[in-house]
Symmetry: C2
Subunit: 438 residues, 2 copies
Amino acid sequence: MPRITSVEAVDVRFPTSLTQDGSDAMNKDGDHSAAYVVLHTDADGLAGHGFTFTIGRGTDLCVAAALQRAEPLIGRDVGELCDDLGAVYRELQSDTQLRWLGPDKGVVHLALAAVMNAVWDLAARRAGVPLWRLLSEMSPEQLVDAADLRYLTDALPREQAITLLASRESGRRQRIAELEVSGYPCYTTSAGWLGYSDAKLRRLCEEAVAAGYNYVKLKVGASLDDDIRRCRIAREVLGPDVHLMIDANQVWDVPEAIEWVKALAAFDPLWIEEPTSPDDVLGHAAIRKAVAPIGVATGEHGMNRVLFKQMFQAGAIDYCQLDAARLGSVNEILAVYLLAAWFDVPVCPHAGGVGLCELVQHLAIFDYVAVSGSLDGRVTEYVDHLHEHFVEPCVVRNGAYVLPGAPGYSAEMYRQSLETYRFPDGSYWTARAAGAST
Amino acid sequence: MPRITSVEAVDVRFPTSLTQDGSDAMNKDGDHSAAYVVLHTDADGLAGHGFTFTIGRGTDLCVAAALQRAEPLIGRDVGELCDDLGAVYRELQSDTQLRWLGPDKGVVHLALAAVMNAVWDLAARRAGVPLWRLLSEMSPEQLVDAADLRYLTDALPREQAITLLASRESGRRQRIAELEVSGYPCYTTSAGWLGYSDAKLRRLCEEAVAAGYNYVKLKVGASLDDDIRRCRIAREVLGPDVHLMIDANQVWDVPEAIEWVKALAAFDPLWIEEPTSPDDVLGHAAIRKAVAPIGVATGEHGMNRVLFKQMFQAGAIDYCQLDAARLGSVNEILAVYLLAAWFDVPVCPHAGGVGLCELVQHLAIFDYVAVSGSLDGRVTEYVDHLHEHFVEPCVVRNGAYVLPGAPGYSAEMYRQSLETYRFPDGSYWTARAAGAST
């Protein structure tokens, strides 16, 4: 009976600010980073890997918080933990002293995500299946037991969640077979970072079309003139049929968002993403009403399930972009998927950063197989970036994620990558500091 | 020209869990704590003191975050900082890498509160006046420049905020004179902690009436039978005229909150506080509609101004209980007071914990003098607890805060208290650890 013997947490930072990969109107100089957690066990070769995604400074805070969050796991029986993943989540989440620092938001919640991501990875590895399959083989009752429905029962009582999942049970096998052929559709954001030149934007749009993408996303929001010019270039290259999405990364107040998006309406964007504060449910509802038929999307900074519940209740968004490393892992993500299906809002998970693509492919596949049972309006983000650090990187073919086959949550990074990019004492950062000081 | 020479941050924890002071349905074992910040200067005797309030584990995270937040202040000219308190707030707040870990919520935001509370304390000390007077002598334009109105302009454009403040300018002096006589009204929570026996509850209610309080608050939410018995005791002692408030500290889902509060309606509570998740704007609106005329109050876990904006827009609360150490200091608190006045919702700040009473007295006084100009429905929390650690503790007489006269934000703790209760190496904690290990 294997036990968890120790918890390792690593502050790993990649120097993406040097190339402006990932640059947008709010985040001009992010170093894509992770607070990376390993749950070591005494079973040969068995460990759980997870992380939360960060962009540089403060990753150390998430690492310190993750060690506190994970402390109750040390010495615990792996089988008992994996047999009741709702119980372990509730145990870690209910530390009332840490809860005060949220609740369910900010550093302590990101840390919970990192730790529980590692627990779910461990559970899938122990079962010898990829996470999407572990979830797809759970019964409706098991899924609802694992989900965090606290504060959601006014919108979705437990019994209705079970009924919803049960209604989708019969087609699971067929939908898996479909995805094994076609993959799960994705779009690319790699073309449209704000720091890229017009020539690079044009070339990357051309490459996206050539690679079979039906969706391309551009960053906007720093300068309206620039946005008009960049959207024109993109629309020229994409033609009328490839979908163009735009993403403002929270830079606008509500009235400005409405005005700016209307000025870009001629380029027929499918959605405006993060038009304002991620906390502003009523603001998103107002923007949605004003810019229709352009859709409103948000969620990568959606702090918890209570926010998403309200987004759905208020009819505030057309697309739910939950984040696999910001919500409290699969337990809270399950709740948001259930709510989204109940309110009939498509979930198009946020990805990119470090390793988010690796995680969200599992979630999107599971959603199609067992929750929404639909691909309508659903397309998952993909950014071709930093995958080389992962032992089982996601694979995209013809604008679709290929179903991952290896056991786990695809979260494991190469030891060499951790050692090179560990902050501040990995070899990359020590060399850079030495270079800076000469 | 004095400069900031260094930043000190202390993890200070008081062992309140031993006596159940502060116990409620959600937080049964809090050790009231603070991430305490001192901005040292090279001017003789001039320093800024501030903190955020925590309840034990994780205070170290806030301390580490505060040091990162405050780093840009080191070496800076005190006069320049104090002459544009909006600029320094925006500079610290706009660190995009730390922003990713919120934005504007959780540990990084609590840390911003701690640091900016110290900056405001420094500014008031430098001016030689208590903080409430510093604010009360600022012009409408200066106040609005200091306020964080980002993401709020759909509800309250800058010009309207200035107009609102200007309309209250003429009576400032008279209202100060009034408060110098009567103080600012407060209520006590000291009677009603959940862990107290019935006999202690009865005695403390009797003492509260004898001390002149017109408002008494009880914790509820763990057991309905207990709540009915405790409310009956309280109402018996208080009689029909003293207001009784009840506080559930977020333990209920929305349907349960409605049912439970209705079961306590016979005891005529003035408000139900924190009936559900602090993030649930629409949930509070639903509860308010269902339990009227009992009022709904929340805010001590209100993470930022965007949440409060929506609480007001949705008509979700009757009382706004902002927290002086959770919001981003005076800059963000100003914005919430302005919104509250605009929407005509009384602000009754959360206090208690460590030092929150010391802070909120300044805010409440300033609100009456310069923002709302009203005392209607306004009563500030007071808990008789841990004041002995403060150099200038708040003073309550006849159920009202006496106007503080010393320069600053009343935030300074005795050095001896810091040294005794610093975690884990202060003398109290080392002695306790030694005792535990024998």
